[in-house]
Structure formats: C-alpha cells, structure tokens
Amino acid sequence: MSSFKKTYLSLTFFTIFMFSFSYMLVPLYDIFCEITGLNGKTNQERVLVVNENPSERFVTVKFTSTVANSAPFTFEPIDREMVVQVGKIYNTFYTLTNNTTSVKHATASPSVVPHEDAEYFKKIECFCFSQQQINGLETKELPLQFIIDNELDNDTRTLILSYTMFNTTDQIGSK
C-alpha cells in the first residue's frame, strides 16, 4: 500500500474514532459521575440489599423541591428537615398535585449537595426517574426510603436532597 493510502486510511479511521468517542463520552460521563458523585447524581440503581448498621453519628437532611418549566404541578416535601442517624433506614414522602383537569405524566430527577457526599445518600425506594401518571386535580404521595451510608465523610453534618419535577406528558418515553 502506498504511503499516501496508509495516511488516508489511518486519518479516516482516526476521524471516525473521534466521532464515536464523543458518543462514548456519554456513558463515560455517567460512570464518572456515579463513581465520584459529580454534580450530585445519586445512585441511579435502587439499592437492593440494605444492612442497617446505625452509628453514633447524626446528620441533618434537608428536603427541597423544584417544579421545572413552570409545569402545572405543586410538588412539596412532607418533611422539610430531618435529623437522621447514619446507617439507619428512614421513610418520608413528597406530595405531587396536578393542578390541571387533565391527566399528566411527571418525572422527578434528584440532586444532592454537597456533591461529593451524594454517593452516600442511598435511596432504597424512590420515585426518581420513574414516570408518574397523575389524574386531573389528583394529589399523590411519592414515597422515599433512604439510608445514609456509614462511609459518609466525617466532616459532613448536613445533606440537602433536591428533587426537580418535570412535566413529561409530551415525551415519547422516558426511563
């Protein structure tokens, strides 16, 4: 093969590789986020097996909510703040109200600060990313069961969990 052809082949391959690399960045970014808790992404997978191992430590957990794109919902945490024992399971819930008279679909996305502690906020049962169907003027209770992992950094005394509720009625499908 002439040196020209070799050049063209390798450069074309390199171009295609870099294009696919940009798509590879997508799962790479997610993996990196899960490992490091970057920007507060908590565990996507529900924690299946949980061993309660209550420690001496207590931390404050605050709960907050946002409705995205001014959707016609009212979305609030029942508990605004809890003092919890690290290593123990707790239950709380959020309420979601559909302020319109027609059926809507809604999906919530969680975020935790401090970001580097997000991986220790383990959700056993939550409504993250699951599309909720909610009838007109209905109010639903969305349960959350969580445990703060014992590995939580010793210096952290407060965690804040935020949910953003999106109106996903028009979406073709979500996770």
């Binding site: 920007n39 507060g40 409705v67 995205a68 605004r80 703040e81 600060v113 804040i160 935020s162």
Partner: protein
C-alpha cells in the same frame, strides 16, 4: 479619558478603584477578599513579566536595527537558555498555585452554614426560598428600569436610580452569618452573581449547586445573571440587603406574615 489616565489605572489600580470602576471590588466576604487578593497577586506578577519581556523587545527594537548599522548575530539555539526559561516560569507558577489551591478549598467548603437560601433562576427573574423559615418570593427587575430599557422608551436611563440593578423584592441576609446558597433553575442555565459577595456558580435545571457567603459589612449589594439565558438575560438583576441578625429575623417575621403569592 487620556492615555495617561488609562496607564495610571493599569499600574495603580487601587487609586483607580474608587472612582473609575476599573477593578474588581474587594467585596465584603471572605470568599470575595481571597479572590481579590489572588487576582491582584497574579496581576502584579504578569506586570513584572510584561515589563521584563517587553522591555527586552523595546531595547532590541531600538538598538538592533539595520538602519543603525547593527549586524545580525549568528546564534540561533541554546539548550541551557531553553531550560532556564522553562524552569523559572514553572517555579513562578508553583508559587501561584499554592495560594490559589488554598483559596479554592476554602471557597468550596459550605459546611456548618446557619441559613440556607435556595435560589431558582427563571426566564427572566429569580425565585428565593429561605429553607429554614419557609419564606418564598419572586424577585424581578424593578418597574422603573424595566420600562426605561425598552427600545424607544424615550427615557434617559441615567435618570433611573440603579438602572438595571434594582428589583421589586430584594434578598435580605444577616451579616456575620455563614449562609449556604443553593442554586437551581426552572428552565435553562442561569448563574447567580453578586461581585461584592464573591463566588459564582451556575443555576442548572434539574440539579443543585451550592456556594456560601459570610457578609461582614451591612449594605446593599447588587449583581446580575451571569449565564446567557435568553432574550432578557441582561434584565434579571439581583439585590441583596445585608443587615444585622436581629433586623434579619424581624424581616423574616414580616415575610412569614405576608406570604406573598407567586406572581410572575
């Protein structure tokens, strides 16, 4: 504005600071002060490097010219010299990196905040929620500014007080209190920035970010949205009144009594 004035401002920014608004404010929080000090340190270092390099160039331009009969030298490489002017800048950079890293660690430490203020960016206004006290309100650009800024409004904007930097419902925070500020958004990415309070983080829909402030001086501090968010990005200002703790709690009490309905 003469060239001499500009040069003075460059070399003596402290003199320029008060009247001519040419420099960053030192601000009223530990984070703003550390940012300012780092800024000035790097600035002075670059001025010195500039003087040395441009000085050498100027000398060369003046004396190493053909018109003066100067003959060109033959040298064109020196490994020793290359090493020297690689290592010395590296050492200078390490000298800069140390205070910068210290400052950054301090700025990112939001632990043990007394109060949490949640800020939500909207197109085109801010919503504030004081988490502990459950006080919520929207904050829009003040009517006078909003009317004056319209194309063809006919208003001389220099007559409007705090033009483009005034709101209908300001944030109130207590001085000498570590306040954690949560940032998120309703629609697109915004950014909440008050220069004198230091720190800036993006407000991203679906996610929360956080910064902290500890305002040492009472006063009124003004800022603006700092991430392009659509047509009125330039028209969603921020006003923070910093008052003593007792005054702050009095204000909270009043807010709780008149729960202002959400108005958009």
């Amino acid at each position: 504005m003469r060239i001499s004035n500009i040069l003075l401002m460059v070399i003596f920014p402290t003199a320029a600071l008060a009247e001519w608004e040419t420099n960053m404010p030192r601000g009223v929080t530990p984070t703003s002060e550390v940012a300012y000090d780092l800024h000035m340190l790097i600035f002075y270092i670059t001025v010195v490097i500039g003087i040395v390099v441009f000085g050498a160039m100027l000398y060369s331009i003046l004396y190493h010219r053909k018109s003066l009969g100067h003959k060109p030298a033959k040298f064109h490489e020196s490994t020793k010299v290359e090493i020297i002017w690689t290592v010395i800048p590296f050492i200078i950079l390490v000298g800069m990196a140390v205070p910068a890293t210290k400052a950054l660690i301090m700025m990112e430490d939001t632990r043990d905040s007394e109060i949490t203020l949640k800020v939500t960016g909207y197109q085109w206004m801010w919503q504030y929620e004081y988490l502990e006290d459950n006080v919520t309100f929207f904050s829009k650009i003040a009517d006078e500014s909003n009317a004056a800024r319209r194309l063809g409004s006919g208003v001389d904007v220099t007559t409007v007080d705090n033009y483009l930097r005034d709101v209908d419902h300001a944030v109130v925070l207590p001085t000498n209190t570590k306040v954690r500020i949560l940032l998120t958004a309703n629609d697109v990415i915004h950014a909440w920035w008050v220069p004198e309070l230091g720190g800036k983080k993006d407000a991203i829909p679906g996610y929360v970010n956080e910064i902290w402030v500890d305002i040492k001086e009472p006063g009124t501090y003004r800022g603006q949205c700092a991430e392009l968010c659509g047509k009125d990005h330039g028209f969603m200002p921020i006003v923070v009144h910093a008052v003593s703790k007792p005054e702050y709690y009095k204000w909270v009490g009043i807010q709780k009594t008149n729960r202002v309905a959400k108005n958009k």
